[in-house]
């Protein structure tokens, strides 16, 4: 049982949980907005590893779960584009992307 860790569902789920936990850790720990965004990509990557593992082990049709991973990719691309353009706009106005310098509201 221990020899074939690669043929158990739990191993893949643990990898997904590790990616998710690393993403949350980086999201809380990083100080710049780009670092937070990079960690958010790790969270999405953990979610897609989970989807692929459940698809492979539990789905009757092995194609169904892959569509979720495809949609996660599309959503991640849209999120990265929007968030990076917001970061550029913030940098133009404030000359910084440090999250601690962005606490005050300006009209």
């Amino acid at each position: 049982m221990m020899l074939f860790l690669s043929s158990q569902l739990n191993t893949y789920l643990i990898i997904g949980a590790f990616l998710f936990a690393c993403g949350i850790y980086g999201l809380l720990q990083h100080r710049s907005l780009i670092g937070m965004l990079i960690s958010g990509e790790l969270v999405l990557s953990g979610a897609s590893v989970n989807m692929m593992a459940f698809n492979r082990f539990l789905a009757p049709d092995p194609t169904v779960g892959q569509i979720f991973t495809l949609f996660i990719m599309g959503i991640a691309a849209a999120e990265a584009a929007i968030a990076l353009s917001i970061i550029i706009a913030v940098y133009r106005n404030y000359k910084t992307i440090d999250a601690e310098d962005l606490q005050d509201l300006q009209g």
Binding site: F4, L19, G23, I38, M73, I75, R92
Partner: protein, 173 residues
């Protein structure tokens, strides 16, 4: 089966180490490069799980396009090298408490379920099957996602345009 297992262990080690280096490296350029390695490992993991189409898409879109976008923005904005890490002790404690709670809850969920030790079945989905399946059954969702990407494109254009107009007129700073 043993070749598969060895390849899987190698990939798991690569993904784990690259992810840990991503969130601990202080320089953001190094973080992005480690993240590219982690995504390439994830793409190979997808290939092992029987999805060559998604492996190619992950390598091209994630590790290629999105990461090049990140690198371009990092080099466009002069991020100071000591971007760093929150160093206060109570904040670190808080962070580690949150992560430990999340991870241990996931572990508890995994091992409380006795039916989760499932055997691996052989299954490989060729790109032809995948494309036919998507465009026969899930075409509406594909259209919604493509519309979302279009909205994101227009939104990114609008954000950069309105800010540049303000900068030209000198409204704010």
């Amino acid at each position: 089966m043993t070749l598969y297992s060895g390849f899987f262990y190698l990939l798991a080690v690569i993904i784990t180490v690259a992810t840990a280096l991503t969130i601990t490296s202080r320089n953001l350029v190094y973080a992005v490069i480690y993240l590219v390695i982690s995504f390439l490992g994830t793409a190979l993991l997808f290939y092992l799980l029987g999805a060559p189409m998604l492996a190619a898409l992950e390598a091209i879109i994630y590790a290629g396009a999105i990461m090049v976008l990140f690198l371009m923005i990092i080099m466009l904005i002069q991020v100071d090298e000591q971007e760093g890490v929150v160093s206060l002790l109570n904040q670190c404690f808080f962070v580690i408490a949150v992560i430990g709670t999340t991870f241990s809850l996931v572990m508890l969920l995994l091992y409380a379920n006795p039916g989760s030790f499932l055997p691996l079945q052989a299954g490989m989905v060729t790109p032809r099957q995948f494309g036919a399946f998507i465009f026969q059954r899930y075409w509406l969702a594909v259209e919604v996602v493509s519309f979302l990407l279009l909205v994101a494109l227009v939104g990114a254009l609008f954000l950069s345009r309105s800010q540049s107009k303000e900068a030209t007129y000198g409204v704010k700073r």
